[in-house]
Amino acid sequence: MLELNNLTVHYGHKRVVHDVSLSLAPGQTLGLAGESGSGKSTVAMSVLRLLPRSARVEGEVLLDGEDVAAMSWGRLRAVRWASASIVFQGAMHSLNPVHRVGEQIAEPMRLHGTPGRVTELLEQVELPRDKARAYPHELSGGQKQRVMIAMALACGPRLVVADEPTTALDVVVQEQVLALMTRLVAEQDLGLLMISHDLSVLARTCEDIAVMQGGELVERGRTREVIANPRHPHTAALTAAFPVIGDPAHRWSDPAPAPEPLLRVRDLVVDYGRTRAVDGVDLTIGRGEIVALVGQSGSGKTTLARTIMGLRAPSSGRVIFDGVEVGRGSRAIKAFRRQVQLVLQDPSSALNPRHTVFDAVAEGLRVHGVPGDHEALVTAAVERAELRPASLYLDALPHELSGGQQQRVVIAGALVLQPRLLLADEPVASLDASVRGEIVALLLRLRAELGLASLLITHDLGLAWQIADRVAVMHQGKIVEQGPVGQVLLTPSHDYTRALLRAVPQV
């Protein structure tokens, strides 16, 4: 049905896809894996000739035996959506906020004159009929993604291309959307080309898998075999980056015996207007201990971290650091923030684009008026964060660095103040699989060398399994379960923990 023969795409002089050949039969599911910049999205867009004008395409893209490049404009419009459709990446940005979703689902049907009913499509994607009258902002992320899927199915295509369909969703919703796609593919005998950086997502949905690196196809085969016996080193690196919960080989640290407490949170309550975001949380982090705080988006874990940092005022409750209660005055909070540092999720936005690496790392020193040779301190911190030699990086601007390097700069900016606790909010969520492992290892090494304790906020239970000593599970503002990693993740006692664990796609 879909055949790519020696597809090569250039943007100017840059070759982004090189000599890729793939084929897909009706009813077949193919996963395309790769890191950012590997060319996987370019391949997907070339199927419907959706690449920008500046792209130079060589090779053939055959859709039902017809060359897409040779199609007339009218023919191409007829083919788009009717024989192949796309589920785009960000559902929240791909829906028009001023139209009801029912109208948006009906739009391709109207354009192509396809008979059919919006309500039937909504039923297929398991949404109630009356949601057709809803506007996008009235739907949750998972519901919006379902609308996108209903849209893709509107004209009865035989091929669906899904570009990172679940990337912005949390584990539980992701599992629901993946289950829906698997069911639809089986029922309607669709061909599915799914693109993701996450091998476990592809393993959940696709029979076959193709791995791309630097624009080239490096491995292709049955999903099960490729993941069990990767032949190419890049595939092996990708598989290794997704830890299997319960596998001791993926545990990177041994749980330490319960140390002396460093930070204690007592009965903390935070309200946003009438909603209670954090509801009576008790949490203890020991010296040099890594505690993972896990939960779905909206569970209040980020609010908890912000409140501990003093970036939000709690409604009630206490934060005790090193035996002393942290005051509310600006002086007390400033002193506390020398000891506790925050590492944010997306390093590209956590660094001021106008500041060089030196400025970004030295910012904390300037804020606190730390005496001494700033250059030497910054260099030491940058090298601790494993950007070596530091002199190569100090004058660089953030956009000149890769995502992993940017996150190291953020970590160096925290380390330069010699803190005793790091609050890391999804520190690896926006990083590529191969980089993720390096950052995780860095956090562990910092603990070993400096005795640095961390509170790791994450929705990724695999990450918790890899490095945490203890896990606290947060649900609707409350901590429903906490204890040593092995106990919480292997013999969970709360229903919610079990639900979270069930939703984790397994490689």
């Binding site: 400033k334 923030r337 999720q345 936005s349 956590a350 910012e363 601007l397 900016g413």
Partner: protein, 288 residues
């Protein structure tokens, strides 16, 4: 190193990018000529030539060999008046723009950064000035205050800042929502740190662009006020020349040489500032 190349193109590129805008370069050249005239005119024009009591030429002379642009109702050379007026127009335009942009930036950053009651109050004041007809307010101010250049500058500056304030506030809010500001706060940075290191550097390029554009409107405003006879009577400016021409009947005299040059000069300088502003805007605005 790949990123070392990136640094060079990233920072050295601003001047090059500006030079790529031909209209902007044309505007900059026009401004340079105007500035040169403004600086040199007082040095080279003898005081006698502009003194009504000492001029020897006849009134209402059309352009000719002795007077390139003819003479006015008192016999003074229009060309010399034009040159002398350049300085006043540019000075008023620039200072009024600096005043207006200064007030606007302050109000915008403060209301954007602090929020709460203070921001609410500042915003209401901004709205109040925004809906006031600027010209009427300026006329009222210049009638109440003693006549002089200072009054004109104040009148223009006080009426034209709200649009800058709105824009700066919007930019401040955008920057404040970025995670790197949260990181700065988490590092322990206070208000001064966040404003000085993060907000202002991001706002300044926009403010500069806005300042160039407001110089243009300040020059028009100065000319308008002077034309209406509210200017400083002791100084020559393009607007004041138009006022004189109107007052002494240049139209019935068919003395086009007294009316056209100041009008055209205003158009050219205003256009030049606008072109430079637009080109700067294109250079400064990130394309990402």
């Amino acid at each position: 190193m790949s990123f070392a190349d990136g640094v060079r193109t990233g920072r050295g590129g601003a001047a090059g990018a500006f030079l790529a805008h031909r209209t902007g370069v044309a505007g900059a050249v026009a401004l340079a000529v105007a500035a040169l005239v403004a600086v040199l005119a007082p040095l080279f024009i003898p005081a006698d030539a502009l003194d009504v009591t000492r001029v020897t030429a006849q009134a209402w002379q059309p352009p000719g060999a002795g007077h390139w642009l003819g003479t006015d109702h008192t016999g003074r050379s229009v060309a010399l008046l034009m040159a002398q007026g350049t300085g006043t127009s540019l000075f008023v335009g620039l200072t009024a723009a600096v005043l207006s942009v200064g007030i606007g930036t302050f109000a915008g950053v403060v209301s954007g950064h602090f929020g709460g009651l203070l921001a609410g109050a500042l915003l209401r004041v901004t709205d109040f000035f925004l809906v006031l007809p600027a010209l009427v307010l300026a006329i009222a101010l210049s009638t109440v205050l003693p006549r002089g250049l200072g009054t004109i500058i104040l009148a223009i500056g006080l009426t034209s800042w709200p649009s800058t304030a709105r824009m700066v506030r919007a930019q401040t809010l955008t920057i404040e929502a970025r995670p790197f500001v949260e990181r700065a706060r988490a590092l322990g940075g206070g208000h001064a740190h966040v404003i000085g290191r993060h907000v202002l550097p991001s706002v300044v390029p926009l403010v500069l662009v806005n300042a160039t554009l407001s110089v243009a409107s300040a020059i028009v405003a100065e000319s308008t006020l002077a034309f209406l006879g509210l200017g400083d009577p002791t100084r020559i400016s393009w607007g004041a020349m138009l006022h004189q021409a109107q007052l002494h009947g240049a139209v019935p005299q068919r003395a086009w040489w007294f009316l056209l040059p100041p009008g055209l000069a205003i158009v050219v300088v205003v256009l030049a500032f606008t072109l430079v502003g637009r080109a700067l805007e294109a250079v400064v605005t990130p394309k990402r």
